[in-house]
Amino acid sequence: MPPQADRQHPSGRLDLVRSLHRLFTPSGWRRVAELAVLTTREAVRSRVLVGAVALMVVLGLGSLLWPQASDAGRVIVVQRLCYGGLTFFGLIVAAFVGGSALHRDIVTKRIYTLATKPLSRLEIVLGKTAGLILLLALFLFFGGLITYGVTRIAHLRKTFEGGSYELEVVASTARLETDDPTVEEERLILRQGQMLEAIGKTEDGYKARIAGRHTELAGTIPEDAVRLHERTLAPERVVGGRELGARARGQARWRVGELALAIGELARNETWVFDLPEEQEPVDEETIRTRIIVGHLRHEPVRGVDRTQHQPPRIQFEFFNPREEDPARASKVVDFVFSAREARRDPDEWPAYDYYYGIIALPRRLAADGVLAAEVTDLRPSYRPLGRVFVRGEKEPRWRAGPVRSSVLPEEQATFRTRFHVQARTGLDLLDYAAVTAIIRNPATGEQVERPIRLRHLTVSYVRFPSHLIDPNQGVEFVLTDIPDDAQIGYRADEPPVYLILEPDRFAATTVRSVALIFFQLSIFATIAVAASTVLSAPVAILFTLVVAMAGGIKDLLLEEMGRRALPAAATLQQMTPTEQAWYWIEYVYQQVLIWAAPGFSQFSSAEFINRQWTVPWSVVAIAVLIALGYSFVFFAFGYLFLSARELE
């Protein structure tokens, strides 16, 4: 029998204390830095960096060619594509370079060059990881510059194109307006729900004005695009009737002999347009049984109101056929109370509902032309709001944005929009709004304009004003006045109350912060890949990294899907059959693994901010840093343990 190993022998397996002691010295960090630079240099010389950046150039330029209906939309698409590309290419770089980092060194025995030098295994794993992160930082630096450049080009593109703007539109319906006899104006409702106003018909097509969220452009709709829906555009079919407010499109489908109409957010004075599908099931010749479904309607608690008195809102709808000439036959007013489904009846909470529904009978004729419209004409909240105003403790809040650094300021005619991000509590806050007046004033000259705005709870309201009201040094001053007594208005502390949509520096800030989010997300992938490469072969480590990335990305989706599964009828676990119990536990374990193991990468996406043209707040970046540090530490610890225990044969 050979003698037992000497206990004093370090065996190299786990010498954490000494390794940490060595690491936290200037020479320790220097060694890690040297190894990091070596790792980065290898990837750079293998043309990994050049390849990834070249792909970003192709993607950036390609995104400029993406067809868009508006300037704002184009910038958003360019940003989304570029940030998506940075994340995707960065993930590929992290998985492939990181997944082979240590395994390749071990297989080719290059690790001997490192392990026989005064480098602890802790320093080796840390150096390799830091090198990969440095590589990703370089990639994101160049990729970020490309993204910024392409975004600016997309933003400035209308200048290059002058007043001409070609649009690819798919119009689903249209209505002639004849108020001004000199202009043949049409209002088109795009399939995507965007609104486009066509001003006059020319030889080339329809001269159009886009009312996007942030910009306005005049342009021409090609005749071809319009012809795609010639049936709905034909003037003889668009007669009489009434104007469509065209705020939203509803969804309509036939379901077990009834017509189900789904509406997103319920709001007063909004019109929903439903394209009716072809009837596939027999219905009453005179009436259609119709179910109206309103989603995401929640009642927030209102102070001072007895919650037991709560009732679902009573709502008056007017359904109408926009193409019916005879006003007497064109519409029907329906007044009813929604029923709630999936209500949570926790006595300590206010009722919250997934959605409301109501069933009515509509005259058949309203849907005869394949289009049905509906408008909320009356909303009667079932309780009174508690009226009190607070805006930073002032009755008439005022604030100043500035000084403003903006290259568009010299353009006297430029139009700015300012965003008011408001938490307004006015009773049934989703359904109501507070009409206030905004005074926008140049602090240097005293020049000012007044603009009416409507503030809704948890929504963004905009006010538009000319650029000469902004003083380059002192900025611009805002005052909110005429606030109703029964309204509560507050601002989110983490958002600047004033936001100059066209301020060019915003792109730099958006780029820097979005790229920072991507960087921290990729840092997690880098640590995962390097840790995996300490124990797995390169292909498996790469695959593992990609699977973790995907699982993290679709975690919410997977959990949501799981939540939709029908649960057994049994009230308790004990009442379940053994098979049901087994499935229950499998699902439970799967959920827990997903929740705890798969990183929540949704926090690293700036898509939501980009879509709304907001700048990513630093607070979001700070949270991303914390999450990245947490995950990276865990994976790094695994990597160190694996390599310490591994024999370098």
């Binding site: 003698p3 022998h9 010498d15 290898e42």
Partner: protein, 300 residues
């Protein structure tokens, strides 16, 4: 301290068994007791698979012993601090092939924390020492096997180590390179360094080693100084320049009178290596002279 002076390597019943999932157990090193003294050139000999490289890896801490223990420079094998004073040339030069010779040595020097001026001087010295002046800026991926061995040797010496492990240092080298490596080992010995040489090329060992150990199937079968092990104690060799035939006859008669019958008198053979070196050196000298003549002719 041991009978060989201060020991820099000491193993005590060092044993290594390779095992693993779906892998048969292999006894690579079996209860090895080895001592290497300071300033020695120690040869670890044995046929392929005898455990030489495994022993080296155990001493360097690349793999872990199954049982037993080893100390290197007074510390347990694998100790990180000790690695500041170690140099290692593996059996093949496993280096970063995208780097050139200068960058490779610079990286190693930085890991050892050698200050920049000293590092630069050391790199120049080592590159000259291993004869890679013309290829110092070339990426290692373009190196021949011999050149790779040379840069491998240079990186093992970058920190001016006290103890140097050389695993097959002359493999892949031409005779000139082999002689240079052997000369280098001699120079290291003169500087008081300890060299542990793993090889199965016996002529190399005979030329440079002070002591050797022979391994077979992981076991130590012989250990001792080269003189002790190789000396034929019951024979004497006499080497004399230009002995004529008559003088040879007289010498035989004289030895017969002394009772030594049938002494063997032959012309000693040179080694092929020495012959090769002599020819190459004379050719080089001739080239140098011819070049000088051409230069002089061109100048006049």
């Amino acid at each position: 301290m041991s009978e060989y002076g201060e020991s820099v390597i000491e193993t005590n019943q060092l044993t290594k068994v390779y095992s693993g999932f779906m892998r048969p157990e292999v006894l690579a090193v079996d209860r090895l007791d080895l001592t290497v003294g300071r300033g020695e050139v120690f040869g670890l000999l044995g046929p392929n698979g005898s455990g030489k490289t495994t022993t080296t890896k155990l001493l360097l801490g690349l793999i872990f012993p199954t049982s037993g223990s080893a100390t290197v420079l007074g510390k347990p094998a694998g100790d990180i601090e000790v690695k500041n004073n170690l140099g290692f040339l593996p059996e093949e030069s496993y280096l970063y092939r995208f780097l050139n010779a200068e960058e490779t040595l610079d990286f190693c020097g930085r890991i050892f924390g050698i200050p920049r001026p000293e590092r630069k001087k050391r790199i120049d010295e080592l590159i000259e020492l291993v004869g890679l002046q013309d290829a110092r800026k070339r990426a290692l991926r373009g190196y021949s096997k011999g050149m790779s061995r040379r840069i491998g040797l240079a990186q093992a010496l970058v920190n001016d180590p006290e103890l140097i492990f050389l695993d097959e240092p002359t493999s892949g080298l031409d005779p000139i390179g082999r002689r240079e490596v052997k000369q280098l080992i001699g120079r290291l010995k003169d500087l008081g360094k300890t060299v542990m040489l793993c090889t199965h090329l016996l002529p190399d060992v005979q030329d440079v080693c002070d002591r050797i150990a022979i391994l077979h199937n992981g076991r130590l079968v012989e250990q001792g100084s080269l003189d002790e092990l190789l000396m034929v104690k019951n024979q004497t060799q006499l080497t004399i320049d230009n002995l004529t035939e008559s003088e040879q006859k007289k010498l035989v008669e004289l030895l017969a009178e002394m009772g030594h019958d049938h002494p063997e008198i032959v012309h000693p053979y040179d080694t092929l290596s020495s012959l090769f070196m002599r020819i190459i050196e004379s050719e080089r000298e001739r080239d140098r002279t011819r070049n000088q003549e051409e230069v002089d002719a061109a100048a006049s």
